[in-house]
Symmetry: C2
Subunit: 588 residues, 2 copies
């Protein structure tokens, strides 16, 4: 298995610019040594130094011996890696060099003379290596054009960053360079390679690093890709408009392939390499960072509530069940009851970023069976508008932070999904629309009034359009939801119990968050539970937590994937989930 | 239910210092109004202003009317809140005032003249209200001494912060002040109250705010606690040494109660109010913040991998199973396979903070069935020591950050759990101990050598002691674990396949983290799976993800609760879990 990993060890090139992490490693005392002598006494510094040198020498010797033996054995078996390296052994490389590095197993020799890489994104950029310098680059072989006496590669790293590398037949070393051309031409796209080359000025419009290219001296195969990808990344990276235009073009038969969602998701680890998709994942990461930043700033504490709960979670359908050491447990549909218990515990203001589980057979573009909840809960002083204020401040921080810190990512997403070109608009202070006023707006616009029922998807969208038009915001709080369509723990409005102190947050006309003031009185809560026809018993600990002093409090829960998918105006929430789960998909 | 909430509305006191969030609320246009006229045209600013005033006036009227009616009805029912307020209605309060505010339901009137609170922690501190000023404070009634003509309260807020408030019979208003004394004496500990009082200079050694106290003018009950707590917070807050000393003291019969773990966990929302416990939760929150800070700094992306997985997770026992729309699924035992697929997706460096599930019947002080995994995975260049370097930098950031940013919290924890008085020691660069050297150390110390088996708990502790003594660090990487005791995806050592490129991280002699270089070659991985006698089929997507170019990579997974419990040197991991889950406990 270890094959020729050691035999084909490349000559390291010491560069002045090293990855921070690698630079740090070079100063470590590695591999660590026995630090005590035979008597268990700590060794002196000098003794340690000597020991290290000895150990390294021995390790080198042993490794070389073992590797040679294995390489020979592998060659005998006809393994490709071995065969290639066998060829190299036969004729040691000089100026040009190529070959399979084999499986990198962190050989001890790597610590001696590490190969130092330059990130592709820094090539030709300010502060980067100078023209004429020789650099090592690691990346994916993204495009390969080998023709006659020349070969052009595009190397991709860091998701979006590409650089061209080229190799030409050399009259001075015709045999060597011809063999290298042949070998290069046999590489497969998406393989990971190490390229050593001279940085030269160039104009390459098709690469992100457009002002330089690499003249190849050496190429090492780090990890080979199978020759046939399940789909081409280029095909998966086009906008719908481009594909539709190619289909509408009657002057040619060449139409772009449309890569379906199921095929993409079946091979999600390749689909995610599409620049827009990788960028969506990075935006998702940034949303979480910004969400927490905003709340930590406001004095919140991060909590982790259990996902395994004895009995039912918030009760009712839509629950995944499991056996828990002989008793029945379910997966939390939300951290609702626990984040409230955190308030009872005097944590005052809490948030959680964690998975929530919904066993609901909803096969829509905006439902998932497992998603990430951005939950918050806080004690307030006098009015739940304090909660709305904190939430709005948080949304503003997330939205402005995304635009400021994810410029590259947003550009990549918007290139493929131009519907999200315009970021959502929002007001400085929260825009709060009362349910009653919202219904009036719908009626005025000729849409159906929901009365005291929940809103349908179409009504939501219509309301979103109306509010966007009239108030100039794509983000608003629809407040005073009908009590009948809200959970038992929702505080009714003081002036009209048919309504409640609860709200949904709308982004581009779709719900991304539900929130409310909660009932904080045990007796009132018991009545509310009974009024919904639910049994008290499974909720007893939760009710009890309010019997020992409970401040008025409220909060909300945001669906991370929904927020991301609506912010970017994608067509499907699955695009904002790394490995989406729906009633038909639980894999990969 | 709404009882006297509105009738007993307090007179708000406008203070120059307001909570940031409340201050912001005051500038909001709330409650939001219809923003369009009958023809759907936006209203002018003046029209909106008028409308607002009208609406507020009407709301006030209606509220007052309704509240009066309800208060009367409640009084008729003999409700305590109503009766008290009834007494007030009979004789309107003048200088002294008290009563039950009823259930705060975010009445519209609150937006007009909000009661502005001063945090307890700022009383007497720099920049706080001046002596002689009148302030509102909200907090828990922590101690109550009512005797004859005087009453002393201790009010607690923000977890640790306490201030004394006092009230004396006033000869000028004997009847009023006597009634108030009586009412105060009937309050229950842990109730939440609002206190209006004059800030006066004082010396109160038993309170965190030792240089001031409040002379009470008004007390409002926000939320009453039942008279008998499941256990006293004072009892639950003592160190083991204090309790043991009281037991050993033969001069008195008075011994402190020892509050058992089960009783605490059954009422965890009260147990968490113990200052040390609240502080542990805040330390836990800070650990997550610091973990992410360190990794975001190193270019990591946060990911969210699915917890519901078709088939088996990493295979084998210890899995919770559930029905997933007719197919069998299990709960992820770790994000291992998915974080590696994120590397295959070119995310390069990823981390996740998320629950992991272990259906293992381990009833020890350091095992949980659900805990929070701090996971990371990264592509590396040449050697997995790069991963160790990143992890060590992260640990250093977490440890130093905790000491710097959680001073109050650490002081609270260390007061009750003095075993953690000394923070763990660590080396600047990672301390890496090879398995072979560790076994030699154990042998030299007369302990049993584990050979190529896993370490037992006692061996771990012994090794921790030896390394601490010899190398002066409580944090180290035990590297080159025997391959036989590591999962199939672990990369073997290049020089000796009986060992692997894998490590555990030890803190104070216990494991807090496992990590390794992973196998990144599909063929090698298949052989490794077969060698462990596992079927290939359930792992096919994972294996396939390595067929299209996979960089060498490694990572680790840290148990958050273990890290916190060992850092603080607590006696049980459950103390570091908000609502712990073990084979015998799935509630609350």
């Amino acid at each position: 298995m270890r094959a020729s990993a050691l035999a084909a060890r490349p000559v390291g090139t010491q560069l002045p610019f090293q990855r921070a992490s690698l630079a740090r490693m070079c100063t470590m005392e590695l591999p660590p040594l026995p630090t005590v002598d035979e008597n268990g006494e700590p060794l002196s510094k000098n003794a340690l130094k000597k020991l290290k040198k000895m150990q390294e020498k021995e390790a080198r010797k042993a490794a070389d011996k073992a590797a040679k033996a294995e390489a020979a054995a592998a060659a005998g078996e006809g393994g490709t890696g071995g065969a290639e390296d066998g060829a190299e052994v036969e004729e040691p490389p000089a100026y040009y060099s190529f070959g399979d590095d084999g499986i990198l197993m962190s050989e001890a020799s790597e610590l001696e003379s590490p190969r130092s890489y330059v990130p592709v994104r820094s090539l030709g950029a300010e502060g980067s290596p100078a023209i004429g310098e020789e650099v090592w680059v690691r990346g994916r072989l993204t495009r390969l054009r080998a023709k006659g006496n020349q070969c052009f590669l595009v190397i991709r790293a860091g998701g979006f960053f590409t650089v061209q590398a080229c190799f030409f037949k050399d009259k001075a070393t015709p045999r060597q360079s011809k063999e290298m051309l042949k070998w290069l031409g046999e590489r497969t796209e998406e393989s990971i390679i190490d390229v050593r080359g001279e940085l030269v000025a160039a104009e390459v419009t098709s690469c992100s690093q457009g002002n330089v290219e690499l003249q190849i001296r050496e190429v090492r195969l780090v990890s080979a890709a199978l020759p046939n990808l399940p789909f081409e990344l280029d095909d998966a990276s086009r906008s719908e408009a481009e594909i539709a235009a190619s289909e509408a073009d009657t002057t040619t038969d060449r139409q772009y392939a449309r890569i379906g969602q199921e095929l993409r998701l079946n091979h999600r680890w390749i689909d995610l390499r599409v620049p827009a998709n990788l960028a969506i994942m990075r935006c998702q990461s940034m949303v979480c960072t910004l969400f927490r930043e905003a709340l930590l700033q406001e004095g919140f504490t991060e909590i982790h509530t259990p996902k395994l709960i004895a009995g039912e979670s918030e009760g009712g359908a839509g629950v995944f069940r499991t056996d828990y050491f002989g008793q029945s447990a379910c997966l939390a549909q939300s951290p609702q009851l626990y984040k409230q218990m955190a308030i009872a515990s005097d944590l005052e203001r809490v948030f959680e970023v964690a998975p929530v589980f919904r066993a609901e057979n909803s096969n829509t573009r905006r439902h998932l069976c497992e998603f990430v909840g951005l939950d918050l809960e806080m004690a307030f002083d006098r009015h739940y508008n304090e909660v709305i204020g904190v939430m709005h401040t948080m949304f503003v921080h997330v939205f402005t932070g995304l635009e400021e810190r994810c410029k590259d990512e947003l550009a990549a997403v918007r290139a493929q999904y131009p519907d999200g070109r315009e970021p959502p608009r929002f007001s400085e202070q929260p825009t709060i629309v009362h349910w009653e006023d919202a219904m009036a707006m719908l009626r005025e616009a000729g849409e159906e009034d929901a009365g005291l029922d929940d809103l349908g998807t179409e009504q939501e969208r219509a309301l979103g359009r109306i509010v966007a038009e009239k108030l100039g915001t794509d983000l608003f709080f629809l407040d005073r939801f009908p009590s009948a369509v809200r959970p038992f723990y929702t505080m009714p409005c003081p002036d009209d119990a048919r309504h409640s102190n609860s709200y949904d947050v709308f982004l581009r006309g779709e719900e991304i968050c539900s929130g409310a003031q909660r009932v904080h009185d045990a007796a009132m809560l018991e009545k509310a539970i009974e009024a919904k026809g639910m049994p008290l018993e499974p909720l007893q600990p939760y009710i009890d937590s309010m019997r020992y002093g409970m401040p008025p409090h409220g909060g909300g829960g945001i669906g991370l994937e929904r927020l991301v998918f609506l912010y970017l105006n994608l067509d499907n929430v699955r695009k904002a989930s790394m490995f989406p789960r729906d009633p038909r998909r639980c894999s990969p």
